[in-house]
Symmetry: C2
Subunit: 330 residues, 2 copies
């Protein structure tokens, strides 16, 4: 029997989950749920309907959906959506406001436990796959240091921040790891790296006609919390160039842990995990979809409550049996 998936929220991430569900033959999309007017939302999966979010409160949906993938924003959507729906469904989200994870986890855990459901929070690639690699490598090489680099990729938050500057019509901001910093980390020298030494930022900006470009560039480079601690390059481009060269949302990054073993730390080791992604939302959606399978299977075995990627035995992610996994992947 297929795993029946619902998607709540149909922005970039929701579309990424929809595409990922289509790649997994053991899954079936039941519906997309939106807080917008459903009649204005067109999805890609043939034969599947769009519903208002209210429909999730009907017994029909509750009986017909195995896992609800919640594709909302971490700032204002997920803090109330995930606990709310964890009381009705197995759910999964990509909550990524690090400082608020304890509060979010507690709320979700309580709701899911009361309902006997599984709720996996903070799933994706960071938090998500990068977190897993930080954890595994920390446990294997306790005497070591871990480094996370992001990019080259589009940071939506930084792009939005630049767009709020007067005279800016559009912006795409790329975060770029500094190659020398990566090399220093890989060398095992355990360097202490400042924010400025780890990443640079590159902004492609479409200015409004007649705008003061020097002022815009200065305001970007000195923007507190976003750019002031980085070396930033600003390029002014046309709207046509923006559309032609910067319409995708690539991303990626590196988790590198170096550490030593032996009685005199005489042996050095480097564990490196990297992602190079053409589409951040589609990859994140693909991770959410794999963990949605796990949520369904874990709940079917009687587990419930709040979970993170740390709590999911990897075998649950796969449609293959334990025997098949041992045969083909071990």
């Amino acid at each position: 029997m297929s795993i029946r998936i619902g998607i709540l929220g149909y922005g970039n991430l929701g579309r990424g989950v929809e595409a990922a569900v289509a790649k997994n033959p053991d899954m079936e999309l039941v519906g997309v749920f939106t807080r917008r007017d459903p009649s204005g939302v067109t999805i890609k999966t043939p034969g599947v309907s769009v519903y208002g979010a209210d429909a999730l409160e009907t017994d029909e949906m509750k009986a017909g959906i195995d896992v609800l993938v919640i594709c909302g924003g971490s700032a204002t959507d997920l803090p109330h959506m995930t606990p709310k729906y964890a009381a009705m469904y197995n759910v999964i989200d990509s909550f990524d406001t690090h400082a608020n994870i304890p509060v979010h986890f507690a709320a979700v855990d309580e709701a899911a436990k009361s309902a006997g459901k599984i709720a996996i929070i903070s799933c994706g690639w960071d938090p998500g796959m990068f977190s897993l690699n930080r954890l595994y490598s920390d446990c294997i090489l306790p005497d070591g240091a871990a480094y996370t680099f992001w990019g080259r990729g589009v940071s939506q938050g930084h792009s939005d921040a630049v767009r709020r500057i007067e005279g800016v019509a559009d912006c795409r901001q790329y975060t770029i790891p500094v190659p020398e910093a990566l090399d220093a980390v890989r060398s095992g020298s355990n360097p202490e790296l400042t924010t400025r030494q780890k990443h640079t930022r590159e902004c492609f900006v479409v200015a409004e006609e007649g705008a003061d470009l020097e002022r815009i560039e200065r305001e970007i480079k000195t923007m507190h919390n976003y750019f002031d601690e980085y070396d930033t390059t600003v390029h002014f481009i046309t709207a046509e160039e923006m559309k032609r060269d910067h319409s995708e949302l690539p991303h990626g990054g590196f988790v590198i842990r170096t550490g030593s073993t032996g009685w005199e730390n005489e042996h050095k080791h480097v564990i490196e995990y990297s992602l190079k992604l053409d589409s951040n939302p589609e990859f994140t959606g693909s991770v959410l979809t794999a963990f949605a399978r796990a949520a369904c299977r874990m709940n079917a075995e009687g587990m419930c409550g709040g979970k993170t990627v740390f709590d999911v035995a990897p075998a649950y992610l796969s449609a293959k049996s334990g025997e098949e996994l041992r045969h083909t992947m071990l």
Copy 2:
């Protein structure tokens, strides 16, 4: 309370586990157990004794050891040792004869289940961490292809095979990934690669005095199953050079999965995991030690039976609480 570890077998791997236990403050080495005469075995941990393997059958040891790490060979030791001791202890091994994993797993699973113990088999980096990365990336990018490369590193099996050639006093064989093959894989072109295209082999050979070097080189390069499908380079060196330049056991490798997402496969992604290890046995021992912690914790929660790395939720590997993990690593 510390996790009390026993080590059975004190070769390179057993020594690696011993060194790893010393790096984990929540663990304590109870004893090293050997089938040799214990009086001839000197270990490095102060105050810890070496016992004959028979001592493992005493009630005192059974009560005093939380996890027994079995450091034997896959060919003849582990097939009987792991099931035998899984009937008495939580155990972990690094069984790596791929074709025999189903039989080994079944025997170990039965013994462990009957005894109410946990037995994790095939743990290390391959099988082990590489397997985990194959599994995670397969689940995230089902529409893709995975590639595993090994090296640059010493293959003990190949070194031993060369040593059996007449006139060879010593050999160290390095397996080396072909850079062009790695690049082709990373490009996302899903290349079909032959054995010869993926790896080369390099042998450093100390010949006996007066030996026919040409014959030795020919015998190496044409050796069935070991070298005939590879491009192999043979270097004859002195015993002094061998000792000076080739006394370590470095290894490593790459697991790379490329795949596509989107309705028209328009977005490509590359997931890459790599290891660069100064000491294969110490790193393998470090992985075994982390999973020994998991075995102990899982059994304390009532789980039992045969397991692989696929069945272990990552949080069990860490001495940190779930709350601490979410705070520091998610």
